[in-house]
Structure formats: C-alpha cells, structure tokens
Amino acid sequence: MLKELGRGLVTTFKMLLEGPVTTQYPEEKRQVRPRFRGRHVLKRYENGLEKCIGCSLCAAACPADAIFVEASENTDEERFSPGDRYASTYEINMLRCIYCGFCEDACPTEAIVLGDNYELSFTDRRDAIYTKDTLLEAVPSSEMTTPQKVEPGLYTRSVPQMENPRD
C-alpha cells in the first residue's frame, strides 16, 4: 500500500516541478497551429490588386450562409482586381461563421484565407459583420491600394493559372 502511495506522490512532485500549463491570456498569446482556421483575410496580389473577383462561390459553399458578395465591373481606370469582375461588397457575419474553411476551398483565386486571428469579440451584432475594408489585407504602400489606374489590356483574366494546392 505504501508502495502505491509513494508512486502517486512521485507523480505529484513531478508535476510540481513542471510549472503551470495555463496560458495567461491576454497578456500572453498562444502560438496557433499551421492549419489553424481563424478570422478570414482577403488576399492581394503582389501589385496590390485584390485576388477576389466577386464570384460568390464562397457564399455558395458556406454552410452557415455567413458570406454575402456583390459584384461589379472593373475598368482599367478603376481596377480593383484582374479581369472584368470584382467584389464591390464583401461581408462575413462572424457570428454565423463556423470556421469550416469551405470558403477557402471554393475560392478559384485563393483570395479568401482563414488566418490565425482568433480574437473576435463584439459588443454589437452589427459589429460582427465584417466588411471588405476590414477583411482586405493591408497594403505596404498607399499607391498599391485599390482601385488602381492601370494600362489597358494588362489584366484581362479573372482566374489566374494556378498550381494545385500542395498540402
């Protein structure tokens, strides 16, 4: 019987030395896993043009009906994305979203990506609806923001040629 008690106490003392497992959030933030699905980000190409072409396939794929997209037409004078079509409205209702990542899978241009931000809290239901301004990736310099004035005939294709996703 003493033997068993000793064995149990060994474990207890071992854990005493290991230190606490609790992360002191929000002072301390935990590293997320590589395939973590957090808040969405709308990606841009290197030149700043939006990858999103407003095709609404993410909205169609969304099992929670959390995404709303409205498309408009690009011109070379005011270009948001390559090709004819861009998303003039892009909204995600974060209260509805279940972070399944189907939108990522449906996206033909890899424009929507579930990032690693999990710090979503709202004090108002309306605040839970993230608009395009919030979702779009920030641009490094102001001239790369959209809409851009571009030379005619450069960006005629909406869907770029892409390799199949590897992982």
Partner: protein
C-alpha cells in the same frame, strides 16, 4: 391524325408521331439526350454532335420486304458502325436507340472534351455559371480530364458588344449557332452571322446599329454557354442567389408570362430588387420568348423618383388626412365625379374604380386614344385561341388567314408580330393593310397599302369580290388584329366596327382561332373595356369643372389641352407611381404600388386573364390601387372590397358577366406544355422558366355564348385633307417611347431617343428641311420641336409623329412644319 411510330429507346418503348426527331421522342419518355445546338423551337442543325447515340434499324429482307429474324425469332438490328446524331434523325418503326451504350457515352465524352479545348473555364465570373448547359452536361457526360493542353486555348477579348444590350464572349462560344438560327428562322431578322471559319469562327452582328432586333435578349436565354449575356444583368448576381416570382409583362397587350428574379442587395440600400426578367413558358401566349422592352424596361419600380407618401397640395401628409380630404370632396361632387383610369391598372383596380364611379353616379372614363373594345368583347377571339395553331396543316383544311390592319405590330406588340410571322411561315395567309411599310410586310401574302383615312373603306373592300377577300372569307380560321396606326379614338372605333362586321359577315366569330384582337397601347386596356370603362371623345370638355380622380394616367404630360382642362377642374386626385405633370396639377396625390409589389390580374388583348404575383416588397407608404379606392369609398359609405385582391376578384367575377366562373385558383391552373423547359432541362429549351403559377384563362365573347352581336353602323368618313401648305400628321406607336414605365430604364435611353417627326423626302425637300435637324411643328395653336427624320415608305403629304414622345398628336391633324 398523323401516323404514330413506336420505337425503343434504352429499352423503353416510345410512341410518337411520325416525323419526330429521336431527341424529342426520348424527351417525351423522360430520357435526356444531351444537346447544345438543337433547340425544340428550331430546325435541327447537327452542328455540335453532342447528341451522338447508337441507332439500330430493323434489317429488311429485300426479297420479301419482311424484317429479317435471328435464330430467336427477334428482328435483326442493323447498327451503323459509328454513332449518329439524335437531333437530325427521324424516328422510324421498330428503331432501337441506345443512348447509354459504351460507344455513345464515349462519343459524348469526346465531344465535351473537344468543346472544352477552347473554353476559358472562367465559370466563376460568367453570368451563366450555375444555369449553364455546358457546365451541367460536362458534369454529367464529360471525361473529367482533358488530354489537351490548357496553354493552347484560344484567347480573345473578353467582351465584345454585339449591340448595346447584348455582349459576346467569343472564348466561351461553342459555335452551336442557336443565336444565328434564332434570328434567321424564328425572328426572320438575320442580324447575326458566323464569320471566318474553322477554329477562327466567331459570331458577329451584321446590322447597323449592332444586333438590331427587339428579340435580342432571347438569344442569351437559348445560348447554351455564357457567350451571350445581357448588359443589364452583367455581374448582377449568381443565378442560384436569385428568388423568382411569376408575373405578366405590363408593357403591351400581349401579356407575356415572365418571371422576375429578385435579390436583396447592399447596392440598393438593403432592399429587395428585381435583377432580371426572364420569360416564363406559356405556349398559348408568348411560347418561351419575350421582347427586349419587356426584358429591360422593368426598372421603373425601383426608381428613386417613386412617390412614397400622400401629398395634399404638395405637402406630405398622413394617409388618414389625405383620404379625409379626398372623400370630403367626392362627397360634395357626387355625380360630378369623373374617374379617369388607364389600362396600366389591373382588373381589380379598374373594377373598384368603376364601382366607385357608379356608387357616386359619376363617370368612368378610359384614358386611351383607341376605341373598339366593346366590339372585341362581342366578337373577340374564342377561348383556346393559339397563334401556334394557325397555318398548321393539321388543324384546318381550308387554311387560316390573319389580317393585320392599321398596326405596326413589331413596334406595338412584338411577340404578336413574331407569332403572326411564324404562322405565315407555316402557311397561314397573312394580309397586312397599313398606310406605310411595316416589318410584317415581308412575310405577308397580300399587302394592302391605303391612304390615311381610308381604313374603313379598305376593310370594307375585303367584303367585295377579289382574291384577297376570298382568301379571308374562305379561310377555316380568321383573326383580325386592328390597331391605331395613324388613327385616333374616332378612327380606330370605326375601323374596329368595320373589322367586326367583316368577321361576322364571313362567319369568323365565336370559335377558337377566330375573331377580333385589339392591339391596345396599354397592357390592360381590354380589361378596362370589359369592366365598363369607356373612352370619352371630348375628354377635355368632360374634365372641366369636375372633381377628377385620375389613376395610372398622365393626361397633362401627354396633351397641353388636357393640362388646361385639368387646371379648370374643380378638384383633382391623382393616384400614381411618379410625380408626373398631372400629379403636379393635382390637389391630392396618392402613392400607388407598382404592379411588381402586389397581386393582381391583367386581361390581354386576346382576352386572356392572367395573374401576376408580388415580386418585391412594397415601397414606403404606398398602397395598392384597389385598396386606395376601397378606402376612399368606405368613407363615403360605398362598400368596396379592399383587403385582398382575391376578394376583389371574387366580387368582380360575381358581378361582371364575362368573368363568370373565373377565380384566382382557376387562373393559377397549369397543364403540361411542350417543349419541356426549365427544371433540369436547361440544355434543351434554354433558361426560360417553367410555368408553375398559372396559364390564365380566356374570357368568353358574346358571339361564343351565342348572343346576338350588335355592331354600330360604320360611317365612311372622308379623311382629313390638309391645306396646300400643311401636312397630315398621324400618330404612330414606337416601341421604346417616353412612357412613365419606360423612361426609368437607363439602358434604353438611346433607344428612346428624341421626339421625331418623319416626312417623305419629297415633302422635306419642298419645305426646304434637312434630315437630322430640329424642326418646329405647329398645330391647333400649339407648337413643339422635333427631330426631322426622312422616311421613303410614307406618302408625301403625311408626317408620322410617334406617340408619347412629346408632341401631343393624338389623332390625325393638319400641321405646319418649319
């Protein structure tokens, strides 16, 4: 009865009339043979090869003429070494068709693979994506993988405007030729063609201006890929996001069945808006087509200029205040009330307005410049009339005749034009009588050209002994379409009487496919006649000093004389969608709902009553016309139904004889129609919607009930003869005019254009005027500006003035042009 043929398709027996194509035969028993270029409304072309199937025919012993049997006693089948096209092969007895055999499926797979070699696969940005036959058939029959290199795909500009309404994407085009064949065969306006050859082939427009046809939108419906899309719906929404509501087009008296596709959007401040109009199948009315006016002129309901609140002398007030004001004035006026309504309103609205006028002992006046509706009520076309039956050798042995008199159908009622033209193609005798050349002349067996003013004389001459008269009198079925081309109220009433007399004399009344049809300016003019509204020849005089209740009409905007008359009216109430010129003059303006925001019924020119359903929520504080009238009436102690259109219609059907036995439930009945469209069969008939909400029902005419027909004696009046320095100005109808429900459609602005006046080159030369210049037109002490157009097809002493374009010419008048 044609011979029936029995064949076996995929082991199932099908019995179809001889001459049926295999692809149609398969469809009748629910077997889908994939097609791209074949369309049930057109001749087969065999261009896309998608419908390849294996066809076996029984082997016949040449000696005996009997089928050869195998050792089991079964007839021996002979299959061709290669698969054949199901869309070009006609069924024959004991044929065996295999659509799922290895050879057939392989062939179909290969065709898809070939078609996709040049296809850009940009479905995410394609307006057709989601209702695309190429997408669907690729999923169903495609190989899944291509052996061709993606980099070798053809590259073209992504959008080429074929006209200002239709865009072409040549990369997506699979060259099925449906659009070209639709324009050639169905419409008869060959404005599209295939240019170049082989891999460089492309669709081009060969007309100036581009795609010069009012049926252009239909090509985007039957396009099996996203090559032809409309400018209006460009990137508007994805098809699966749209809701649909059945409706009836309110732009002309044809009453085409349509579907409004709606969506709630941020662009419209979170409102539900109509995104597009699609045809809805009704084989007896519009088949599966609609015209471009119906497709693109729907924007009026969402206009920012819509009235939202009741106004009393320009000040927004509550409904209660406005109704109190109105009812107190009507209570004073009593029988001095004039209700002036147009055929833009539904049957329910008009019934309530008429009952209201009757309750006060006032007058119910139809605002129109065309008469004869009372005659159409007596000798209108019989129940079950269908233009598609005319010219069909199976229905009649003595042939069918259609007389179109004083109407430019192409501009006034495009779908009737199309169906009359097709009847003529099938072999019906078409007589076109018009003072000037119209687009229908090309398809007519007989063209009668008369001088303006000789309409009655011309129709009378069809009772004489001549070959045209004979073609009319001897026909098995005869329909007369009369309009008001170049005529006013008086002239068209006389013409209608002459036409009615001709029909009665030749015995073409009281049965299907026989009778009179009025080509009315508004959608529900016939309904207004049925419900007891009558036009007033001296309208201005009838309005002076009266308490006037105007609904769905803009007399002040149309005619300065009526504007003056309304200024002299005692009290004016206007029930409208917009702040029109008439509304400016009104003491009280009541905001009405657009017909897209409520239930109701229209009576088409063929006297078919059809239901429309609400598509979008009502705007602001607006109320439906019938409800407003009922509320005013209630304050005056007149009992009218206003809570629901169903109840109004019930009451209507109970009290108006011609509507006896009709109900909303009856109007919502449907039956199986051919060809099958909608459902999963987008590849077959196009994106036209299936009709699940009602085909409507025809009204019975007096002649059909066997009642005596009374036709007024027609006075053959001498036409107006202008003086030496004058011209005879006659009103004509233009498809895209400045109507209240047309101008808000920005897309059509170019088509509407300026106010014009058309003269013969000789007349213009005499007056020293040049085409394309502004001229001053003066008549009856008023004058106006118009752009001069030269038209060689009219006679030298006549000037054509389009209606509803700014010049108030409502009947033939003498004018001076400077």
């Amino acid at each position: 009865m044609t011979k029936q043929v029995t064949l076996t398709i995929d082991g199932l027996q099908a019995t179809v009339p001889a001459g049926t194509l295999i692809v149609d035969a398969a469809k009748t028993i629910g077997i889908d043979i994939p097609v791209f270029c074949y369309h049930p409304k057109m001749e087969p072309a065999g261009m896309c090869r998608m419908c390849l199937v294996e066809i076996g025919r029984p082997m016949i012993d040449r000696g005996t003429g009997q089928p050869m049997l195998d050792e089991n006693g079964q007839p021996q089948m002979q299959f061709m070494p290669k698969p054949e096209a199901a869309c070009t092969n006609i069924v024959s007895d004991d044929m065996v068709v295999l659509t799922q055999s290895e050879k057939a499926t392989e062939a179909q797979k290969d065709i898809i693979e070939f078609l996709l070699t040049s296809h850009p696969l940009d479905c995410p940005v394609c307006d057709k994506g989601g209702e695309c036959p190429l997408q669907n058939l690729t999923m169903e029959h495609g190989p899944g993988k291509s052996r061709f290199l993606y980099d070798e795909k053809l590259r073209f500009d992504k959008h080429v405007p074929l006209g200002d309404l239709i865009l072409l994407d040549r990369e997506r085009c699979i060259l099925c030729g449906r659009c070209v064949r639709f324009q050639d065969e169905v419409v008869g306006e060959a404005v599209l063609a295939i240019d170049e050859r082989g891999r460089g082939s492309e669709i081009i427009s060969i007309s100036d201006p581009g795609f010069d046809s009012v049926f252009s939108g239909n090509t985007s419906d039957i396009c099996p890929v996203g090559a032809l899309t409309t400018v209006d719906f460009r990137f508007g929404a994805r098809p699966w996001e749209l809701k649909s509501a059945a409706s009836v087009c309110a732009q002309c008296p044809v009453g085409c069945n349509i579907t409004f596709n709606t969506r709630r959007e941020a662009k419209a401040d979170g409102k539900v808006v109509i995104k597009r109009v699609m045809p809805r199948q009704n084989e007896q009315v519009n088949e599966i087509w609609i015209c471009d006016k119906g497709r693109f002129a729907y924007h009026f309901a969402e206009s920012k200029q819509r009235l939202e609140k009741p106004l009393v002398r320009g000040q927004a007030v509550s409904w209660e205040d406005a109704l109190n004001e109105v009812s107190s004035k009507f209570a004073e006026a009593k029988s001095d009330t004039v209700v002036l309504a147009s055929g833009r309103l539904s049957n329910e609205d008009l019934f309530n307005l008429k009952s209201f006028a009757d309750g006060l002992g006032g007058k119910a006046v139809l605002y129109t410049d065309m008469g004869g509706g009372d005659l159409v009520m007596q000798v209108g076309v019989g129940q079950g009339t269908n233009f598609s039956d005319l010219g069909n050798p199976l229905t009649g042995t003595r042939g069918d005749t259609i007389l179109v008199v004083a109407s430019d159908l192409y501009e006034e009622a495009p779908i009737w034009w199309l169906r009359v033209k097709q009847a003529a193609d099938r072999g019906a005798t078409l007589i076109v009588a018009n003072p000037r050349e119209t687009k229908l002349d090309r398809f007519a067996s007989y063209v009668i050209r008369y001088a303006n003013g000789d309409e009655v004389k011309t129709v009378r001459s069809l009772s004489d002994e001549n070959k045209i008269a004979e073609a009319f009198a001897k026909a098995e079925n005869a329909i007369v379409l009369f309009g008001s081309d170049g005529l006013g109220l008086n002239g068209s009433s006389n013409l209608a009487a002459a036409c009615a007399k001709l029909l009665v004399d030749t015995g073409h009344t009281g049965k299907p496919n026989n009778g009179l049809i009025g080509v009315w300016p508004k959608a529900n003019d016939q309904g207004a006649w049925e419900l007891g509204f009558r036009p007033e020849a001296a309208l201005a005089a009838a309005l002076k000093g009266k308490t006037v209740y105007i609904a769905g009409a803009d007399p002040a905007g149309d005619d300065p004389a009526l504007e003056r008359a309304l200024k002299e009216a005692k009290f004016v109430v206007v029930q409208e969608l917009f702040q029109t010129k008439t509304a400016d003059l009104a003491d009280v303006v009541l905001p009405a709902r657009a017909y897209t925001e409520r239930d109701g019924t229209f009576t088409s020119g063929e006297r078919r009553v059809q239901r429309f359903y609400p598509a979008v929520p009502p705007l602001g504080e607006t109320k439906a016309d019938y409800a407003i009238t009922a509320e005013i009436a209630k304050k005056l102690g007149i009992n009218l139904e206003g809570s629901s259109p169903v109840l109004v219609f019930e009451k209507l059907a109970a009290s108006v004889k011609n509507f006896e036995g009709l109900s909303y439930a009856k109007l919502a009945e449907v039956s199986e129609q051919w060809p099958i469209v909608g459902r999963g069969d987008l590849y077959y008939g196009g994106t036209t919607y299936e009709n699940t909400q009602g085909l409507g029902a025809g009204l019975v005419s007096a002649a059909e009930r066997g009642e005596a027909v009374s036709i007024p004696e027609v006075r053959e009046e001498a036409g107006l003869r202008p003086q030496e320095d004058e011209l005879l100005a006659v009103p004509v109808t233009k498809l895209y005019d400045r109507g209240t429900t047309v101008t808000p459609a920005v897309l059509l602005t170019n088509h509407i254009g300026d106010a014009t006046i058309a003269l013969h080159p000789e007349a213009a030369r005499k007056l020293g005027l040049e085409a394309g210049k502004q001229v001053t037109v003066s008549f009856d002490g008023v004058s106006g500006q118009a752009l001069l157009k030269i038209d060689e097809t009219i006679s030298a002493g006549v000037a054509l003035v389009p209606r509803s374009m700014g010049l108030a010419i409502r009947e033939p008048v003498a004018i001076k042009v400077k």
